[in-house]
């Protein structure tokens, strides 16, 4: 199309809609700046709609189930947020979860008297080791994180299979006190959920209020500028992967406590759920944007959708399709909104408010 022909039309359209434009733009900017608020609204709308359709939806048991399911995913999403903020990705978390869950289970089988704190710490330490392998590959080895963590996804899972050899750990081999992490509760909230909330709060707080946390944002926003600002980028990236790994290790322990039964295929494929939750929660895959609060809301939204489908007796096969559609929608919304706002502010800057 020739620009000269398009012009008069475009101009008159511009003039007519400029007032409406500004109003629409204000909405866009609101949505863009308050993605978390939007997510909360969507979440509430979904809960209200589902409970109207099915009065059984709102009950303690359902709430408990959602919280238990989401707690583990949300913790992993917090770790993924740290990594994605740096413009990296960690696909290996599912294998780390599986491997730690089985390892800690095996530890309990060998030492039934092992204190629970030791089990938890051992899980976190294992995860941190896995994370430091990823971190070393990405920083020292200069392997792109997608390739590095895809490889370790395979390798960790393969080690798991080689070791487990078709066996499994059952709830009966686990101390009752350990299983209380998931089944016991304080004021009706399961311990597991309380623990997850603490972890999420600490991670979120660290990202917002500490130098190290802000450096993750800086690195993802502009790696070169981060280096020029005196940030030791490699060291920080390494730490980011260790955090992600450690959280995956903790999630592995909690997985064991929640489900009791683990085998070599435990948690296979959840890396995609986690990336989905982060993306739906407005963590940008291009780095520098996002926070734990949003990521947690993303995880919660996906969890509630899944439960709603069950309650509404919709085929569970809808789950995956909806999740996929949401990911695409979230990326498109975030990117296009950000672009529209940038264009608008630039126009405003260059021309005043005309």
């Amino acid at each position: 199309m020739k620009a000269t022909h398009a012009l008069p039309l475009a101009r008159s359209a511009q003039r007519k809609t400029s007032a409406g434009d500004a109003a629409a733009m204000r909405w866009f900017i609101f949505l863009g700046r308050h993605r978390e608020t939007t997510l909360v609204a969507v979440l509430l709308a979904l809960i209200v709609a589902t409970s109207l359709a099915s009065p059984h939806f709102l009950n303690i048991q359902n709430a408990r189930d959602v919280l238990l399911n989401v707690a583990i995913i949300a913790m992993l999403t917090a770790g993924m947020t740290v990594v994605m903020l740096m413009r990296h990705i960690d696909l290996s978390i599912s294998s780390t979860v599986g491997l730690t869950a089985y390892s800690i289970g095996a530890l309990f089988v060998a030492h039934p008297q092992m204190p629970i704190a030791v089990a938890v710490l051992a899980g976190v330490a294992m995860g941190a080791v896995a994370g430091s392998i990823n971190g070393a590959l990405v920083t020292f080895g200069r392997v792109p994180s997608l390739v590095a963590t895809l490889s370790t996804l395979y390798i960790f899972r393969g080690i798991d299979y080689a070791w487990v050899h078709g066996g499994q750990i059952n709830a009966t081999s686990l101390p009752a006190a350990f299983q209380m992490i998931a089944s016991g509760s304080v004021l009706g909230v399961p311990y597991l959920v309380v623990l997850a909330l603490v972890v999420l709060a600490v991670t979120g707080y660290y990202l917002k209020h500490f130098r190290g946390g802000r450096e993750f944002y800086a690195i993802g926003s502009n790696p070169e500028a981060a280096n020029l600002a005196g940030i030791q980028v490699d060291r920080r990236v390494f730490k980011g992967f260790v955090i992600s790994g450690a959280l995956a290790g903790l999630a592995g322990v909690l997985w064991l406590a929640r489900f009791g039964t683990v085998d070599a295929s435990t948690a296979k494929g959840i890396e995609l759920q986690v990336v989905a939750a982060a993306v739906v929660g407005s963590v940008a895959i291009t780095g520098g944007i996002g926070n734990v609060w949003g990521a947690t809301l993303g995880a919660l939204l996906l969890g509630v959708i899944n439960l709603s489908l069950v309650v509404l007796k919709v085929s569970p096969f809808w789950q995956l399709a909806i999740q996929g559609a949401l990911i695409v929608l979230a990326i498109a919304t975030d990117t296009l909104l950000a672009r529209a706002i940038a264009r608008w502010t630039m126009k405003k800057r260059d021309h005043g408010d005309d």
Binding site: T4, E215, A218, A229, G288
Partner: protein, 514 residues
């Protein structure tokens, strides 16, 4: 106004001393002899053509590059910078030509990244930080909020953030790498006032610029670099404009520009009322066969954007372009190539070359369809093509199969030029033809341009280097903030007149200025 003289108390040690610094990148020697002394309370101009090694020297002082040899002293103490944070700790702040900011983060965070004020629990004292930044912004006289994000700021405002960052470091040495390139007059004045204030506070300032009048106004002393080495050092008052230029270029100017008298032919490129909202407006001009028309102006005036829009890689809102009298379909580079248009872009590494690909493959990119027989690319004709143009342009390379990344800047430019000349264009738009290439290669590029117009090509040359514009162009168009402000014939052109138009003063004698 002339700079205040440099008075040093006896026994003063230099803030910074660099001796015989060397740096190679693979086979390319970027810095041969970096030598520089900065005294407290001086503004020191570092001059040289693009590619003379100034940026490498700056990056060594900033801790970005580690020199292969040489000696660095700060306040008399020998130092080695392993990373940028070492330079920052040593009190050296750098303002780069391109702002190095975090678009997603707030202005306050940009300024204090990596050294935010902390409370006793190690938490960032966000309010303290924001207050400090707000005060700094106020003292710089800009209306910006410390909490607003950097995305969407104009280049000038981004530069202000960079300056505030440097100020907040309380640096003893401030390095400014072409800070004024994209600034308007008042913004330049603001920057100079700040520089003067810092100088009075005994900060040593290293100032890199292409605008010599700024040097005479601000700097006490001058170091001139050429081909990777510091070749001349002097007090500013000992130098004249011409003596600086001839030392930068290293030879007599007249022989440097092989300008030939060519009788202009018919109109080859006609641009009419080309407009892209917010970028440029109502751009109209023509270029005839046998003519080199220069498009001058400050960085950010919209010159490259006009070139890109004509070629179709950027969109336009209105206006039209004719090549040899035929209207061009805008927004489609392939159509532009078919119509006989070629664009040698300003950023060779980002826009001109696929650096990982071989010379032959790069050279063939524009003419792939012509090299195809029965649907398959003929490797032989591809290599022949590259060798052909390589010979014509005196390309220095081991073979046509080595990656373009292994070539020096000048030879890379020849590959880009060759890839476009292979399309046999009628109109060549060449954006910053000699940026970042050595003196020898420059002369060869000028020679090539001269021969092209002799053979009837129409050339539109965008250039920020006034000597080049004055030396090569038959006619000089000047842009300011997206508009054409002057159209000056060669005979009437001088530096003052071009600069005036570039700064937005309307040119009374122009033929077609809007």
């Amino acid at each position: 106004m002339s700079p205040s003289p440099l008075n040093l108390a006896p026994g003063t040690t230099p803030r910074l001393e660099l001796r015989n610094a060397r740096k190679n990148f693979g086979a390319v020697r970027a810095l041969e002899n970096g030598t520089l002394t900065l005294w407290p309370g001086e503004v020191h101009a570092l001059l040289g053509e693009n590619g003379a090694g100034k940026s490498t020297l700056v990056k060594i002082l900033a801790g970005v590059h580690q020199p292969d040899g040489g000696e660095l002293r700060v306040d008399g103490q020998p130092r080695q910078f392993a990373r940028p944070s070492d330079a920052i700790d040593a009190g050296i702040a750098v303002i780069y030509q391109e702002p190095t900011l975090f678009p997603e983060l707030s202005i306050a965070e940009n300024i204090y990244m990596g050294r935010q004020p902390l409370d006793r629990f190690g938490r960032i004292r966000a309010e303290t930080m924001q207050h400090a930044v707000q005060e700094m912004l106020a003292s710089l006289g800009v209306n910006l909020q410390a909490t607003q994000s950097v995305r969407g700021l104009s280049i000038a405002d981004q530069q202000v953030v960079e300056i505030a960052k440097a100020l907040s470091l309380n640096a003893n040495v401030l390095i400014m790498d072409e800070p004024t390139a994209a600034l308007s007059r008042p913004e330049v004045e603001r920057l100079f006032a700040i520089a003067e204030r810092l100088r009075a506070a005994n900060v040593a300032i290293l100032f890199i610029t292409h605008r010599l009048e700024e040097v005479f106004r601000l700097a006490q002393r001058i170091t001139i670099m050429r081909d990777g080495a510091a070749v001349h050092f002097a007090e500013t008052h000992e130098m004249t404009h011409d003596s600086i230029v001839s030392r930068m270029v290293g030879r007599d100017l007249a022989s440097y520009y092989p300008k030939a008298e060519v009788e202009p032919g018919e109109i080859a490129l006609a641009v009419r009322r080309l407009t892209r909202r917010g970028v440029f407006k109502d751009i109209s001009f023509t270029v005839r066969r046998g003519e080199i028309v220069a498009l001058a102006g400050l960085v950010g005036a919209g010159r490259s954007e006009v070139a890109r829009a004509i070629f179709g890689v950027d969109p336009v809102d209105s206006g039209d372009v004719q090549i040899k009298g035929k209207s061009l379909l805008l927004g489609d580079p392939a159509a532009a190539v078919r119509a006989g248009l070629a664009l040698v872009p300003e950023d060779r590494r980002q826009q001109g070359l696929a650096l990982d690909m071989s010379i032959a493959h790069n050279a063939a990119l524009t003419v792939l369809k012509r090299l195809v027989h029965w649907g398959l690319i003929s490797n032989q004709s591809e290599r022949n093509l590259a060798q052909d143009w390589g010979r014509k342009l005196k390309l220095k390379a081991h073979s046509m199969d080595v990656p373009a990344s292994t070539l020096s800047g000048g030879n890379q430019q020849k590959v880009v030029l060759g890839k476009w000349l292979a399309t046999h264009p009628d109109v060549l738009i060449i954006d910053e033809p000699t940026r970042g290439i050595d003196v020898g290669a420059k002369a060869e590029v000028y020679q090539t341009l001269t021969e092209l117009v002799k053979n009837g090509m129409a050339v539109l040359m965008i250039s920020s280097e006034l000597p080049e514009v004055l030396g090569m162009a038959d006619r000089i168009l000047v842009m300011n903030e997206g508009r054409l402000t002057a159209d000056i014939p060669r005979a009437q052109a001088d530096e003052a007149r071009i600069m005036a138009a570039a700064l937005g003063q309307s040119d009374p004698h122009s033929r077609s200025a809007a």
